[in-house]
Symmetry: C2
Subunit: 321 residues, 2 copies
């Protein structure tokens, strides 16, 4: 049983494959009966158009790539979920590659997306000193972090982070620690600055032993939280999704005995309200980000330039007292 093509249908019906093509694409110049016969036969045989052939002719593949560090972190999962729904609605194919924030895996994924002629890629750029130019034949939209120029969907969380620090200070904490990404990443730089701004506004002294930065991973969260606790921090502020997930695990172990260390996570993890007295956090509007991304992908929005339109919010819960 070989593939059903317009030619096989044409042979089957004793007509030219062009007539079949026209019938299937609703071209007016086909006799009614012929058209119906074609449509019927195509249906019976389960014909589907080959998108490979279409792509070869230069048609849009309707493939969108999504490059994420992982998809277990709830922020990325929710983002991917929302984006996948939007893509399905718009008949776009979403190809997901996980980079694990590794720049080599990222490069490999980009290469393969070029092979399939993806029309655009949405990517959380992996951290890295070098600056591999993003491919020009696909439109790249950077998410959350910005490594190079071009369109980006970013979140302004400065006020939220500052507010978190102020709240902790108000609650009587004087040694507020911070774990975040390396300052070479846009997000790492800005978030740490916001943390420092919070300290300044609270009139608290600045202490580098209370700052841990590194590659924004779960692991950094774990080790960073440990280091900060050992350094005598009485509160922890997280500067990233992955980091928060690691730091939370450490914090839960560390404060099991009832030690009074406060905690502010990052992102809207569903279980945050249910853990202990509730985990305070920096809330990021995931669905809105995904919606905007989809609009960009569908060309419903101006394609160029950065996009700082989103604001994070500080959500107070028990862990911030």
């Amino acid at each position: 049983m070989t593939r059903v093509t317009i030619k096989s249908i044409a042979r089957d019906l004793g007509i030219s494959h062009m007539t079949v093509s026209r019938a299937l694409s609703n071209h007016p110049n086909v006799q009614k009966e012929t058209r119906e016969a074609v449509l019927k036969r195509a249906e019976e045989l389960g014909y589907v158009r080959s998108s490979a052939a279409a792509a070869m002719r230069g048609e849009d593949t309707r493939i969108v790539g999504l490059l994420l560090p992982n998809i277990t972190n709830e922020f990325y999962a929710r983002y991917a979920n929302a984006l996948a729904l939007e893509c399905d609605r718009r008949a776009l194919h979403l190809i997901i590659h996980l980079t694990n924030d590794d720049i080599r895996l990222e490069a490999e994924a980009l290469r393969r997306l070029r092979e399939v002629q993806a029309r655009s890629v949405v990517m959380v750029p992996a951290p890295g000193e070098v600056d591999p130019a993003l491919p020009a034949d696909m439109r790249a939209i950077q998410l959350i972090r910005r490594r190079t120029e071009g369109p980006a969907i970013l979140v302004d969380d400065s006020d939220a982070l500052t507010a978190a620090v102020l709240q902790l200070a108000r609650a009587g904490h004087a040694r507020i620690g911070y774990v975040g990404a390396v300052p070479s990443l846009s997000s790492g730089h800005n978030r740490r600055a916001a943390y420092r701004a919070g300290l300044a506004r609270a009139g608290l002294p600045f202490d580098t032993t209370l700052e841990v930065t590194g590659a924004p991973t779960h692991e950094l969260g774990r080790t960073g939280a440990t280091r900060l606790c050992e350094a005598g921090a009485d509160a922890l502020v997280c500067g990233g999704f992955e980091i928060a997930s690691g730091a939370l695990a450490t914090w839960l172990e560390h404060t099991e005995g009832g030690k009074r260390v406060s905690f502010v996570g990052y992102g809207d993890t569903a279980s945050y309200p249910w853990i202990r007295d509730g985990i305070a956090s920096i809330s990021v509007p995931v669905e809105a980000l995904a919606g905007r991304t989809a609009a960009l992908l569908a060309g419903e929005l101006a394609p160029d330039g950065p996009d700082h339109g989103f604001k994070a919010e500080f959500v107070v819960r028990g862990s911030a007292n």
Copy 2:
């Protein structure tokens, strides 16, 4: 700046496109210098092979489809994560479509995967009375649930569910409620049977008001848990991932005042150990499932027949007392 093809490289170098093709695919019959010149030029120009052209010639597209109800549920997220990693490792493209357990969205996704000539699909079959045959030109691997014949990766959770009921009975509960999928789904049928077996073995009476079934959604979890609590249940057992996520939310609200209703969730949600005294649950070996799937996809395993090789486990935590 038009696309870089073997022909454009050939023109550029003043040779035939076949020589370029051979050079790029390591065919022996190319003069060393020519080969090097080609490779160099290809590199410079950023040539990538068109997989559309390859697909048209009948080559494998290396595209794998993944159809999931959603990707926010931690089980699906972790599964997708693991599978995506395996696929990246094996240079497979993973296209994710979300079905929301809607059989029409599922059909649409399958049609589009046939268009791109996906070699295989991994799918959690949507619930539905009708039985749309799975397409024959792609290999379909059913996950968790089984709607029709063909290879499937299933989990045997009977013993775990029975054990959960027994544990609750031991803890002194007599009105143990169950929320699960409709029995027309293989998983719905088996899980309810295991729940009932638990009751029987505990010597507890059988009570249909303590059983709620429906489409396996978060919503069913919410409403089902409410109904069961109103029916006077003193313990809840969940028969599915989505259901557990909904039921947990309801349960947390309902028992806030300290009412003593016990709870057994489904799946290995990371936060389960941290909520209240820990949420007991049916633990499913996600990573193993994904590993087996990948092996099947890569053809490293016998492709046919069912696969019941996985066992779920009951994990006791505070919520089961």
